[in-house]
């Protein structure tokens, strides 16, 4: 099983990605997906700008995915991370893990998201509704603690 990793500007289609990952594999009993969306609770945002480190982004997510594949018996694993301008309600990131049983699929997807948050070289900046460019989003200590659960 080779994890699929894509870094792209374009949107993705959850249903199509799950179907492609699970297709024709009779030992898949469980598929867990995580979709991360651009949130805007107070209608402050015009968009989030996602900057990334081309080359390292692919390499680092592939390393994290390989760790997950070594740790859980998976039949399929996918990570897509978008960059560029992403508007409220739009999709930013997708992780899919497929396995025979649900525990492994849940844990692998959860692990991949936690590590992606703390290790994948992406940075978010706010573009505000009033047209100005806001600050860089600060990293959360919560995210580091979440990743530490797995070590």
């Amino acid at each position: 099983m080779t994890p699929v990793v894509r870094i792209q500007r374009e949107d993705f289609d959850l249903g199509a990605e799950v179907a492609a990952l699970a297709r024709g594999d009779a030992d898949i009993g469980a598929v867990v997906s995580f979709t991360g969306l651009c949130r805007d609770e107070s209608c402050r945002l015009a968009a989030l700008e996602l900057e990334h480190y081309p080359g390292m982004a692919e390499a680092e997510i592939a390393r994290v995915a390989a760790e997950a594949a070594a740790r859980w018996p998976l039949s399929g694993l996918l990570a897509i991370h978008r960059f560029g301008l992403i508007r409220p309600g739009e999709q930013i990131v997708l992780v899919i893990a497929a396995s025979s049983h649900r525990r492994e699929a849940f844990e692998a997807a959860d692990f991949l998201m936690d590590y992606l948050k703390t290790r994948a070289p992406f940075w978010k900046r706010e573009h505000l509704a009033d047209g100005s460019i806001g600050g860089w989003v600060e990293a959360k200590a919560d995210d580091d603690r979440a990743a530490e659960r797995w070590s």
């Binding site: 990334h52 480190y53 290790r119 992406f122 978010k124 900046r125």
Partner: protein, 92 residues
């Protein structure tokens, strides 16, 4: 011990607010002989002007990668082709 041999030119890349403070997305530099680790490279960069000083004001917060792999301050930069500096990641 070849730490005093001049290192070959090195590509540095910067991201997010590190990039903005340095004022460059990337540059080719020739660190002085003896610059053996990420921490030593940062120390030298901070002598190169206000932008660098501001970018690396809080050294503990700026992350580094050597050839697309995360690296600690003590990591050796020998043989590195590309070194990146950036804030803590906020993807996902």
């Amino acid at each position: 011990m070849n730490q005093h041999v001049a290192a070959p030119p090195l590509k540095l890349v910067y991201f997010a607010w590190v990039r903005e403070r340095v004022g460059l997305a990337d540059e080719i530099v020739s660190p002085p002989p003896g610059t053996a680790t990420i921490a030593e490279l940062v120390r030298w960069l901070k002598t190169r002007g206000e932008g660098y000083e501001l970018a690396f004001e809080n050294e503990a917060i700026v992350r580094a990668a050597i050839d697309h792999t995360h690296a600690k301050p003590a990591a050796s930069i020998a043989g590195a082709r590309e070194i990146a500096f950036f804030p803590p990641m906020t993807g996902g």
